[in-house]
């Protein structure tokens, strides 16, 4: 029998490491990921330049230089969000998700691999963009900022973690919704529209609600705020959102036909 000899020679590979390797390869063999990262660089550069300039021109109090890249998260999060989203929605749009599921038939493993790959890329991108933003802001602040290695390091690292979690959240949401229009709408509302609305309306209740949305929770944590909750709690809230989206995506992926 052929099968007997085949099993004997080829027992390794595959599984989750195989799925991760395949997702990694797929990510870098189309242009979307590069475009998203270029967009991230542009958004971070422009935003932090203006952040520093405005603080200087308006005579804001001196602040840690890392606040500039942290504030840029409101824009940069969409660069990694779109990157994570297209890794899922492009496969549904081109029906290549069927090929993916033939290669890796354990469905949750596909989602996990995509979350790990885009999460890791978003984390690394976040750290590097954080460094870039710090440098740009340092120049445009022209002395109206403080530089403390530990503070900046912590902020940059947390920016990476926040963006990584945004990617995981987006992957889950994309498996749940499948179509890019839907994902972009929900992502935009969750990470920008609703927070802006709640902050604009103000009031204790609405602001408390906002503090439990991913952007505000992540920002509190990155800025090192001790109120309304200690730093790690903000990160936990973002993790919770990512986990909920991940489980929602997992459930839809498990139930529906490809």
């Amino acid at each position: 029998m052929r099968s007997a000899t085949r099993v004997a020679v080829a027992p390794e590979g595959g599984g989750l490491p195989g799925a991760v390797a395949a997702e990694w390869t797929k990510l870098w063999t189309v242009r979307a990921a590069y475009l998203c990262l270029v967009a991230g660089v542009a958004l971070m550069g422009v935003f932090t330049f203006y952040y520093g300039s405005i603080a200087r021109i308006n005579g804001h109090p001196v602040q840690p230089v890392g606040n500039a890249p942290v504030a840029a998260a409101v824009l940069v999060q969409f660069a990694v969000g779109v990157l994570a989203m297209t890794s899922v929605t492009a496969e549904y749009a081109t029906t290549s998700v069927r090929a993916t599921l033939l290669w890796v038939p354990v469905r949750h493993r596909v989602q996990l691999a995509k979350a790990l790959v885009t999460g890791a890329v978003a984390f690394l991108a976040g750290v590097l963009l954080g460094v870039l933003g710090t440098v740009v802001a340092w120049v445009s602040f022209e002395g109206r900022a403080t530089f403390d290695g530990a503070t900046v390091g912590g902020q940059v690292l947390l920016l990476g973690v926040y963006l990584g979690l945004v990617a995981v959240l987006t992957v889950g949401m994309s498996f749940a919704l499948r179509a890019p229009a839907g994902v972009l709408t929900v992502l935009f509302l969750l990470l920008y529209g609703v927070p802006t609305l709640l902050e604009g309306l103000g009031g204790e209740v609405l602001l408390t609600v906002n503090d439990h949305l991913p952007l505000a929770a992540g920002t509190h944590s990155m800025l090192g705020d001790e109120a309304p909750y200690p730093r790690p709690v903000g990160l936990l809230i973002v993790t919770g959102w990512a986990a909920v989206a991940h489980l929602a995506g997992r459930e839809v992926l498990r139930r529906r036909d490809a």
Partner: protein, 306 residues
Amino acid sequence: MITLRGLTKRYGDTLAVDGLTLDIEAGRVTGFLGPNGAGKSTTMRMILGLDHPTGGTALIDGRPYAALRHPVREVGALLDAKALHPARSARGHLTAQARSNGIAVSRVDEVLELVGLMSVARKRAGEFSLGMYQRLGVAGALLGDPGVLVFDEPVNGLDPDGVRWVRELVRSLAAEGRTLFLSSHLMSEMQLTADQLVVVGRGKLLADTAMPEFLAGSSPTAVRVGVPNAEDRRALAGQLVRNGAEVEPGGGTELVVRGRTAGEVGDAAHALGVRLHELRTVSASLEQAYMELTAESVEYGAGAAA
């Protein structure tokens, strides 16, 4: 070997696949036939774990597809050849596939060479012709050197050279002891390729038989004989019927005779002094046998309207 037991798929009120039970054996080519909407693609998708059965099981060497640790090494599938990202190159696509199952990346160039796509390995797949898509699909199916191959319409869009190439490839893969399960609408092609035939209609199994029996069972071989003179035609027909043959008019000056060989018909004509213009044996064609079998179950037939 692929084993289906009571495999059923229901979409709302429609039974797309209705309790299919059959074994698709190794070492031969099993052709999968049926009218559009008969449930062929749904059956294949369930075998490959893409669609969840409403009932029953589809097993590959005793296990469901999703339980295979290295599915690409065990099952080669060609479903929709265009189901890939148009911006990714053929090589990029196959490299991702190889890495997903721990297959050496050097195997990618081997299969690209095998299907004749080496020169366009770096080209975006979106610029491929349908025939090139099919070749890339075959490359993907062969990548893991699997023992089971499932092909849905593999010759769709291929030129005559490509059709012959797929036929010879499929025959040689079966000769190596692999399980080949393929669907096609091209009856003449299927007749040349398949050893065993599985026919479905409206989701139900209509036939699961070896090719020769399938052909013999539905449409017996006939002899067509051309007799230019009308009186001679009547005389010959009368003589043959008296001898127990089945005779019917074949249109124009022809008669269709069943139950006698061409030689026997020729002898009878000679004995009567009847002049012939044509005498030939018509073998049963798969197309005809298939049409007879599925006439009842065509979902979108052309006949009934108006």
